[in-house]
């Protein structure tokens, strides 16, 4: 969804009246769009005003102990339920792996390039980790752990004579909409002639190319950006490419295998 499409739905979302089929798409967009998140938060506050006008009804006295016990139980859950923790760690390891492996790719890619880009890529990596964590919060770790869901990871390496790097994460699910998340960083932000960049995923089976999100017209100060694309079935789309304004491939990589999610961290 684009920002205007999301903004068109934010009022209904804040009122809890957005059709379910739109809710996930809106939430996914807001995972990376700070502007829409801010607008949504302001509308949420306005909508909550209605709740505060309700005449207060006193809950039964016994409810307090029940609630406190429930919160304490969940707060202790990571220590009390190792199986659950492994599940969460597995999801976290997927994301950590994406970032860590990307760092290797960037390190190689940056060799011989200007030092400032090395530093900027590191900073962008931190920003991206935060963005990915936010994304995970919105989608929920359960999406990564649900039986039948498959997660593919990959790194993007620069073409000859290029700098930068990136990572891609694809989730293929029988129960929710497939999505791919692509991050890029270290692309020279001052290279106006190279923008807009475009991110593509390519089917290994049919060769079909799908553009991921909108063209990247502006990079942040560190040359980083993130794009998300939904589609019906992404299982065959294993190749990821980033092209510059001339159509030349500047970054390329492949996602897979899914085995990475099956190996929980200790």
């Amino acid at each position: 969804m684009t920002c205007p499409e999301v903004r068109d739905r934010l009022v209904e979302r804040s009122l809890g009246a957005l059709p379910l089929e739109d809710v996930r798409d809106v939430e996914r967009h807001m995972a990376w769009c700070a502007g829409c998140r801010k607008e949504a938060a302001q509308l949420d506050r306005a909508a909550a005003t209605f709740a505060l006008t309700l005449a207060p009804e006193a809950p039964p006295a016994r409810l307090e102990d029940r609630v406190v016990t429930a919160v304490l139980k969940v707060a202790d859950a990571p220590r009390a339920r190792p199986a659950s923790r492994r599940g969460r760690s597995a999801a976290a390891s997927v994301i950590a792996a994406a970032v860590a492996v990307s760092a290797l790719g960037w390190g190689t890619a940056m060799a011989g390039r200007a030092e400032r880009f090395r530093e900027s890529a590191k900073r962008a990596q931190v920003d991206q980790f935060e963005a990915i964590s936010n994304f995970k919060d919105v989608i929920g770790a359960a999406a990564f752990e649900e039986p039948g869901n498959r997660v593919y990871l990959g790194t993007l390496a620069p073409s000859a004579g290029r700098s930068g790097g990136g990572s891609a994460l694809t989730l293929v699910s029988p129960s929710i909409t497939d999505f791919v998340m692509v991050t890029v960083a270290g692309l020279p932000p001052s290279d106006a002639g190279a923008t807009p960049y475009e991110v593509w995923i390519v089917s290994d089976v049919t060769g079909q190319r799908l553009r991921v999100g909108d063209p990247i017209r502006r990079l942040n100060a560190d040359g980083g950006a993130m794009r998300i694309q939904n589609a019906r079935d992404l299982s065959a789309f294993r190749s990821v490419e980033v092209t510059d304004a001339s159509g030349a491939v500047v970054l390329r990589g492949e996602v897979g295998p899914e085995a990475v999610v099956a190996s929980p961290s200790p």
């Binding site: 009122l15 209605f50 207060p56 809950p59 919160v71 969940v74």
Partner: protein
């Protein structure tokens, strides 16, 4: 909030004492039974613990943050349980008051909320209430009233933005 994040018993009880009534009231209004309202109240505080680290006091009040969580959970439940009958529309003017049982802060907050809603016309207030308290989508309202979907969306947006501005005005020094 730090106490909540740390799983501090006293902090959880303090938060419960302050906000359990509006949350429970929300459950009663939207879900219609005491049992469902109790479950909602429990779920809200558990969710608040899970999301506590993301609460930013500079971006909004704790009460509105909690009520947003409560409303989202209640609407999710209504939609999940198709057998649950939506409660009768409750207009804020028709809500019976219960003097003497509330705490001062909550009363002040409720009073401020009522004043913010006073910026709306009766029609605007009813329109927003149909969406907020009954979970009617813009399309459902449009079909029910026989007016274009775009008109409903425009009216919902204009009304909610009025409330937002009223809230901003009252918080302005």
């Amino acid at each position: 909030m730090d106490g909540l994040i740390a799983g501090n018993d006293d902090a959880i009880r303090a938060l419960y004492a302050r906000f359990s009534r509006p949350v429970y009231s929300m459950g009663m209004r939207l879900l219609g039974t005491r049992e469902a309202a109790e479950e909602l109240t429990q779920d809200v505080f558990v969710n608040a613990w899970r999301k506590a680290a993301r609460f930013d006091a500079s971006r909004g009040r704790l009460s509105t943050w909690l009520m947003t969580i409560a409303h989202n959970l209640a609407v999710d439940r209504l939609r999940r349980e198709t057998g649950v009958t939506r409660p009768t529309l409750v207009l804020v003017d028709e809500v019976p008051d219960a003097p003497g049982i509330d705490e001062e802060d909550a009363l002040l907050e409720r009073d401020a909320a009522m004043r913010a809603l006073s910026s709306l016309s009766d029609g605007e207030r009813t329109l927003l209430a149909r969406a907020y308290f009954r979970g009617l989508t813009a399309r459902e309202i449009a079909e029910s009233d026989g007016i274009p979907l775009g008109t409903v969306k425009t009216r919902l947006r204009a009304a909610l933005i009025k409330v937002r501005r009223a809230n901003e005005d009252k918080e302005r020094p």
